[in-house]
């Protein structure tokens, strides 16, 4: 069955991942930060300070929710308590969209708290598609799935990662959060072409870009999100803007937090790279 072309979600511009380290700066921020992405699990709580802050940000910024624990690829049953809390948070803050990762985070009731890659098989594809559809039924909205950085690939895989992600999106009728850094990390670690990856993504389903930094390991590059966006990732971002056009873009920084002005400068750089291309294309 061919899925319908997804209705477009709003274009939000250039944003940041909401982190405690930047709470104060964000509330006093100049207008270049146009939207915020919040880590869903941090606010799936009963009360207290996290929700007080969240309400403050909600008054000032469009928000989107980004989860790390849906474990959409796990062979464990979907966690109904998790989904109920996720749905409650979405109802509370009315995000522009809700996203998580194309991965599994645990099995047999154990959570590794990591974004584990899947084998790219027909079996895994059927499994993920049916779970995405169930999640979308619970949340009553399309979700976005993000490509993860990976360090292993499995002998069983029959598809490339981008074929698998594109197929999930088409069959489950969901959208894609394309992490440009993760494409670069996985492409480098597995020796595939990041351009092939971008060309394999269905344009109409890519709703959001992540930009982030990585760390050079001994043999592999490690997706740490704790460094500035690298030149290679900026180049890939330009390629992505050319292919996908105007896509809501944000910088995701999770550790080794730079001074606020440095982060703003990175965001300004993203805008400076993208806007001329978008104007030329218009």
């Amino acid at each position: 069955m061919t899925a319908m072309r997804p209705d477009p979600l709003p274009y939000l511009g250039y944003g940041l991942g909401l982190r405690v380290e930047y709470y104060e700066a964000l509330l006093a921020s100049p207008p270049q930060v146009q939207w915020l992405e919040v880590v869903s699990e941090n606010y799936m709580v009963d009360g207290g300070l996290p929700l007080v802050w969240l309400d403050r940000f909600r008054e000032r910024f469009p928000l989107v929710m980004h989860g790390v624990s849906m474990s959409i690829g796990s062979t464990d049953p979907l966690d109904q308590d998790y989904l109920a809390r996720l749905a409650a948070l979405a109802q509370r803050i009315e995000p522009a969209w809700v996203s998580d990762h194309l991965c599994w985070t645990g099995v047999q009731g154990v959570n590794l708290h990591d974004l584990m890659p899947l084998p790219y098989t027909e079996e895994a594809l059927d499994h993920v598609v049916s779970r995405v559809q169930r999640v979308q039924d619970v949340l009553k909205r399309r979700i976005l799935l993000e490509n993860v950085s990976s360090y292993v690939s499995f002998a069983q895989s029959q598809l490339t990662e981008w074929e698998f992600l594109a197929e999930v999106a088409e069959r489950a009728d969901c959208l894609i959060l394309l992490d440009i850094n993760n494409v670069h990390v996985s492409a480098t670690n597995h020796g595939f072409s990041s351009s092939d990856y971008l060309r394999g993504m269905p344009v109409s389903r890519v709703q959001q870009f992540h930009l982030a930094g990585y760390e050079q390991g001994e043999r592999l590059i490690i997706d740490t999100h704790d460094a500035p966006v690298s030149n290679a990732v900026w180049q890939l971002y330009v390629e992505a803007v050319r292919r996908f056009g105007r896509v809501s873009t944000m910088i995701e920084r999770d550790d080794h937090f730079p001074p606020w002005t440095d982060l703003l400068a990175e965001l300004a750089h993203a805008r400076a790279l993208a806007e001329p291309l978008l104007r030329d294309a218009a």
């Binding site: 624990s69 062979t75 645990g106 959570n111 899947l118 292993v152 499995f154 002998a155 490690i222």
Partner: protein, 258 residues
């Protein structure tokens, strides 16, 4: 068992095992062999869990000092995470230390205080009552008056001065000396608005607070104090405690005992 299920179970075990394991399904190549690739996940697993614990157990870190890392490793080996939020990973640490470090009970006590502070931080919001509401209780209703205390309020029994260690951690102060108590003393942990508080309880306050938590009416609270202090001193002491509880926002409702 499906092929996907089998692969995930093997991968989970390979990531969690303390000794390096080999997974036949993982491809190695010229960039890195299969073991190096698996090790990225194995290393990350321990680092993440340890970091999550270190975030929640500041007092324990101060108390345990150089032993802190070994305590966390032992816990990680014994207890995989089962909650979707890594922040809850430490929920069983105090019980683990209680079972495995019986000769140093201060470690479990410390972990219990750290965890109580952590859980109070984002417990459900409750609105405390005002003094006016208490003042409006008619005289005939006081004997059967029941005080509803915050559900998230916690009373902890401690064998030593764990609060001093936590305070040192929070203020980056000097590590205090360990003071063991001859008999357990009690700490109160609660949240007012968005700030988590903890303080020591006098023995009489502890007794009355526990009675109030269990639903004892006001007359019984006063009787408990009278047993300790005598009839004359009991009421002023109860009034002082009520005032302190109101100021701290510990009472969120009033009712009549059944």
């Amino acid at each position: 068992m499906s092929a996907l299920q089998q692969l995930q179970q093997q991968m989970l075990q390979a990531v969690m095992d303390a000794k390096p394991a080999r997974m036949l399904d993982i491809r190695g190549d010229a960039v890195a062999d299969a073991q190096s690739r698996l090790d990225v996940y194995r290393h990350g697993y321990r680092v993440r869990l340890r970091d999550a614990l270190a975030n929640e157990f500041a007092g324990l870190q101060t108390m345990a000092g150089r032993r802190f890392g070994a305590l966390l490793d032992a816990y990680v080996d014994a207890h995989p995470s089962t909650h979707y939020n890594i922040r809850w990973y430490g929920s069983r640490l105090a019980a683990f230390l209680h079972d495995t470090h019986r000769s140093t009970p201060q470690l479990a006590d410390m972990a219990r205080l750290d965890w109580a502070i952590s859980t109070a931080f984002d417990a459900a919001n409750e609105t405390p009552i005002s003094a006016d509401k208490l003042a409006a209780v008619p005289p005939h209703a006081w004997a059967q008056l029941r005080l509803f205390l915050l559900p998230a309020l916690q009373v902890l029994a401690c064998t030593c001065n764990v609060d001093a260690f936590r305070r040192a951690a929070d203020t980056h102060g000097e590590r205090p000396h360990l003071r063991r108590y001859a008999a357990p003393r009690h700490l109160l942990v609660w949240r007012l608005d968005t700030t988590v508080h903890y303080r020591r309880l006098e023995d009489d306050e502890w007794e009355v607070l526990c009675a109030a938590q269990q639903g004892a009416p006001f007359a019984q609270l006063c009787a408990t104090l009278a047993t300790r202090h005598g009839e004359t001193a009991a009421l002023p002491r109860m009034v002082a405690l009520l005032q302190a509880w109101l100021n701290a926002g510990l009472i969120h409702g009033l009712g009549a005992a059944a």
